[in-house]
């Protein structure tokens, strides 16, 4: 019955694998989900295709709208994501309170579509943090001084780091350990389908409902 102990692994997102990649240093605090994926792109009814519009207002010099050919738009050469060395990077390094604001899951969808699998920050906003795990993205929280060290490592050269979720460390010239909730870790490592897992407890939910509605009958009324 337990949530954690169900061994039948239902796959939904890809399993999280050991990653070695160049780090994209985005030196900003309070990056909100409006910046990650502007509102005009939320009109899509799909989960995919948001990558070209990730950080749209910072990445391009013109105004983006859905349906545009992004390859023909003028890009902002100063924006870090546009540097050629980061074309295939899987790791984003940011400051505090990343992903604040709107609950739009289009934000992790856009990051994932671009190729980001790991975000390292001093802190994350709650809803965004949660949304990452549902999409196979690992958000890692490190201490302020550790983030500072990583940023200084990116100043003169392209920093490459190794991320090991199983053993919970990030390694560049130095190794940093990170904390993560066990359930979330196992979901990522195994690519679990959480809905499938919860539905293993169908009868428990049904029994709960029975007593719940007898205690609070007005909630049954519609």
């Amino acid at each position: 019955m337990a949530i954690l102990l169900i061994l039948e692994m239902r796959k939904s997102v890809d399993k999280f694998k050991h990653i070695i990649s160049k780090v994209i240093p985005l030196d900003r605090s309070n990056v909100d989900t409006d910046a990650i994926i502007p509102k005009q792109f939320l009109k899509s009814i799909k989960r995919t295709g948001f990558g070209p519009n990730l950080f749209d207002e910072w990445r391009y010099l013109d105004h983006g709208e859905p349906g545009m050919d992004n390859s023909k738009r003028s890009i902002n050469p100063d924006f870090v994501l546009n540097k050629p060395q980061f074309k295939d990077s899987k790791i984003l390094l940011v400051r505090e309170n990343f992903g604040c604001g709107s609950s739009r899951e289009h934000a992790p969808w856009a990051l994932l579509d671009f190729g980001i699998k790991v975000i390292i920050a001093e802190s994350f906003a709650d809803i965004f943090y949660n949304n990452c795990f549902k999409n196979g993205i690992l958000p890692i929280t490190l201490q302020k001084d550790e983030i500072e060290e990583l940023f200084s490592g990116t100043e003169t050269k392209t920093l490459e780091v190794e991320v090991n979720l199983e053993k919970q460390f990030v390694k560049s010239s130095k190794s940093y350990s990170f904390e993560i909730d066990e359930f979330k870790k196992s979901s990522l490592l195994n690519g679990l389908d959480e809905i499938g897992l919860t539905l293993e407890n169908k009868s428990v939910i049904a029994n709960f409902e029975k007593s719940y509605f007898s205690n609070y009958p007005w909630l049954k009324q519609e």
Binding site: N30, R47, I127, P217, L219
Partner: protein
């Protein structure tokens, strides 16, 4: 054991517990057109039914036009999204207030208005401002689309317990200081990440004196302090608001419910993980000056000086000033505006419109204002306002009187700022580009927005003449 309000509601909804991970039951699921289509698609792919469709209420709000409603949606992509919601509601036989329904409006306005939001409920919606519903002594929070799908299929959410924070606003605010000012002041104090990981309960004299509309404004902004949930305990104000609402319990059921609802407050000896005390007298009308809601000052103050900030804030400070086209140390009341927006899930309820109209009565907006618009939160709010003649006051002063929707709070429809335009806005986010690419947002209360429209710049409404 003494419990906080959050713990009382949480504990009643635990279906399963495994160490510190809980499966909690969800009573009410509000959906709109932007964050639900992918969830419906997911259900279809896995061939999963809805667990309890009666718990779901749908409304289109983000994309809907606020003018010429009868012509339908002009933007073809927005149109598909709204039609997809219509189709999903039809396929699953869900309660929806569609664009032609007088009950249509912003999801966080219509839930309470219809009595679909009730005390003690767990309420979710794929929208961060779901915290609004906590004003009723409910546990309400925004979720992502994967969780929307999870709740549709299982009626449950996998959760950790949040920490609890009590924000105690003691004393009495000035009569022209509103719930919006309290919210912005609190965010200025604790920061936009101050509430991360917490459920906030707002307490104290100043909170008890607020109407339900005011409490909704306050809880709505809890997310801007980083808290997924904000809440206020149930009292007579809550009970009186709910009585006779269309979907509220009736007769004997009402009596049963009221008895339970009266228990929904933190026990006097309950322990919070954090307590923040605020003196209501300290709060003056607030105006945000930067690109994060924590960049906010009182109307008599000035934008901070860089030299007064710690060095780790310098980069963000500089970037915010550049984006906003402002200089450090500028007095707030010298900032002029181009547009004025009164609306959004924060400030589009009847009290908000009354507050703005009370100020506008007999006045004209400044010729320097390019556009001033009032967007009621729902068709019902609009009707109520018109029955009180508020629409005439807005229109005579030079405001446009629109149809309900999210409108220029996030500019997904045609209502938006042009690059460089500066707006006094009663919405909730002043992020870069939020109201249109390059647009500059100043968050204020409805009365402060109205006063900015009349003067063309921010003024202290405490010094202004106000009718009746």
């Amino acid at each position: 054991m003494a419990k906080t309000l959050y713990e009382k509601i949480f504990d009643k909804h635990v279906v399963l517990a495994q160490e510190d991970t809980y499966l909690i039951y969800i009573d009410r699921h509000l959906i709109h057109e932007v964050t639900s289509p992918q969830a419906f698609e997911g259900l279809k792919i896995h061939d999963r039914p809805l667990w309890r469709k009666e718990s779901i209420v749908a409304v289109p709000d983000h994309n809907v036009p606020t003018t010429d409603r009868d012509k339908g949606i002009q933007d073809p992509i927005s149109k598909i999204q709204v039609e997809t919601l219509d189709q999903n509601c039809k396929d699953h036989n869900l309660l929806q207030f569609d664009m032609s329904d007088v009950r249509q409006g912003i999801v966080h306005v219509i839930g309470p208005e219809q009595g679909l939001t009730l005390p003690g409920m767990t309420i979710v919606c794929g929208d961060s401002h779901t915290s609004t519903h906590g004003a009723f002594g409910a546990l309400a929070m925004g979720i992502g689309t994967s969780e929307v799908e999870h709740v549709m299929a299982t009626q449950c959410l996998i959760q950790k317990k949040l920490k609890t924070m009590k924000i105690d606003v003691q004393g009495k605010t000035h009569p022209l200081v509103s719930a919006k000012d309290i919210a912005l002041f609190v965010i200025g104090q604790i920061g936009t990440a101050g509430g991360t990981g917490y459920a906030i309960e707002f307490c104290g004299d100043a909170i008890q004196q607020l109407s339900m509309e005011g409490r909704m404004t306050l809880c709505n902004m809890a997310i801007e302090a980083g808290a997924r949930s904000g809440m206020v305990a149930v009292d007579d104000t809550t009970i009186n608001y709910l009585k006779n609402k269309p979907f509220a319990p009736k007769n004997g059921m009402w009596d049963l419910a009221e008895k339970e609802w009266r228990t929904l407050h933190s026990d006097s000896d309950a322990v919070f993980d954090k307590v923040v005390e605020i003196d209501a007298n300290m709060i003056e009308p607030q105006v945000s000056w930067g690109t994060s809601p924590e960049m906010v000052k009182g109307i008599s103050e000035s934008i901070p000086k860089k030299s007064n900030l710690t060095s780790d804030k310098h980069l963000d400070f500089q970037r915010a000033l550049e984006y906003m086209g402002l200089n450090e140390n500028t007095p707030i009341n010298e900032i002029s505006v181009d547009k004025v927006f009164i609306g959004s899930c924060t400030n589009s309820r009847i009290e908000d419109l009354r507050e703005a109209a009370r100020y506008l009565k007999g006045k004209k907006i400044n010729p320097s204002i390019r556009l001033a618009m009032a967007v009621p939160g729902s068709g019902i709010v609009k009707k109520q306002a018109e029955s009180e003649g508020l629409d005439k006051i807005f229109i005579e002063s030079g405001f446009q009187w629109r149809d309900p929707g999210c409108s220029m709070c996030l500019a997904m429809n045609a209502d938006r700022l042009e690059s460089g335009e500066r707006c006094a806005s009663t919405s909730n986010r002043n992020f870069e580009g939020r109201q249109g690419q390059g647009g500059r947002t100043h968050l204020v209360s409805p009365a402060m927005a109205a006063a900015a429209a009349v003067h063309g710049h921010f003024v202290d409404i405490r010094n202004e003449e106000i009718s009746g």
